[in-house]
């Protein structure tokens, strides 16, 4: 019995329970705004959005794996592709692409041209340092960490800052093998 290959992002999205994107977009916006009110510092808001994303990512990874039928995430290149093609589609309903691989295959860009998080959003002048979509970088970092890949995720382009797309640079720092968790003391 050969294992079935990964399901396509489109198929998973089509069969998933879906909700109005407005609810999601506005909720995220309201959270960002409340964080700015409560934390005051834009830098701190960036940090918290990333942390929230990380926490979301470590949960979401299992839904991603279960629904996509992806059974191995050993190769960073393959993993980045599947996140962009399947992951973004099955959750956000949009497709991302992977580009800008470096020579040794440990750094790439995930590019997003359509992003439901920013519908209606215009950054005010007081928030110029804000990475509005920072939750996304956290999600990717968290999800990859769960499949043993320690990464650093940074924004290279941001449409809210006038760029023509959203671009996340994902750099693989190391792959962490599974250690035997018990000490041999008993």
């Amino acid at each position: 019995m050969a294992p079935a290959g990964p399901r396509s992002g489109d198929a998973i999205f089509a069969s998933a329970e879906r909700v109005n994107a407005e609810l999601f977009t506005l909720t995220y916006g309201a959270i960002v705004r409340q964080l700015l009110t409560d934390l005051e510092e834009v830098e701190e808001v960036n940090k918290q959005l990333d942390q929230m994303g990380y926490n979301i990512g470590i949960r979401l990874v299992d839904e991603f794996l279960a629904k996509s039928n992806v059974s191995r995430c050993i190769d960073f290149k393959e993993t980045a592709e599947v996140i962009a093609k399947v992951g973004f589609k099955m959750f956000l309903g949009v497709t991302a692409s992977v580009t800008n691989w470096d020579a040794d295959g440990t750094c790439c860009s995930i590019v997003l041209e359509d992003n439901p998080l920013v519908d209606f959003v215009e950054l005010p002048d007081t928030c110029q340092g804000l990475y509005y979509c920072n939750v996304l970088s956290g999600v990717i970092r968290g999800a990859l960490e769960m499949v043993s890949m320690k990464t650093e995720v940074t924004w290279a382009r941001d449409m809210l800052r006038g760029d023509d797309a959203f671009e996340l640079q994902v750099k693989l720092l190391k792959q962490v093998p599974e250690e035997y968790p018990y000490k041999d003391d008993e």
Binding site: R18, V19, N20, L26, Q34, E63, G93
Partner: protein
């Protein structure tokens, strides 16, 4: 048909929102956490009511606006209507959703202690679970309050979950 995202996006955002505010920011100040979560819901309710009332005639009274919340508004959010609406005719309305979607996956096992937590009696865990659940409800309460306020009906909204997964939202209109 408008844009859609997977339900998990909203669910995981809400779970994380509640945990961020109630365990990371304001671990010992549940009132502050509740206030911020409600404020987030309020803004969302305000904006959604602006969007969802766009193509309809104006409501002629409070009841009509409340009915709109129960039917069209609720359907936009949860693909179902409020199951039961009651009023005392003196400004209090009870909106009951017999299976409130945002709580439908909330579950703990009251019979089991979990074998690694002998020092954590089931009662304590259950109590904590109910606090977390209540914290979650600040968000939908805020949404309802925001939506009604924007329709010109200032009110206070609370939630009753004595019959999970049913959830009742109690709207008290301010006069």
């Amino acid at each position: 048909m408008g844009r859609e995202v997977s339900e998990s996006c909203v669910d995981s955002l809400l779970t994380e929102l509640v945990s961020t505010y109630s365990t990371r920011f304001y671990a010992n100040k549940p009132d502050l956490a509740a206030h911020s979560i409600e404020a987030i819901g309020y803004q969302v309710g305000l904006q959604l009511s602006e969007r969802y009332t766009m193509d309809r005639p104006r409501f002629s009274d409070h009841l009509e606006a409340i009915k709109f919340i129960c039917k069209d508004f609720w359907s936009e959010l949860f693909k179902k209507q409020i199951d039961n609406l009651k009023t005392n005719h003196r400004g209090t309305f009870v909106l009951q959703d017999s299976r409130f979607r945002w709580l439908s996956r909330v579950s703990i096992d009251p019979s089991e202690n979990g074998d690694v937590s002998e020092d954590n009696p089931a009662g304590v865990a259950e109590n904590k679970a109910s606090l977390v659940t209540k914290m979650h409800l600040n968000f939908p309460c805020g949404i309802i309050r925001g939506a009604l306020s924007n329709l010109g009906i200032p009110c206070a909204v609370s939630a009753d979950i004595s019959n999970l997964p049913a959830c009742s939202f109690v709207v008290r209109i301010k006069v």
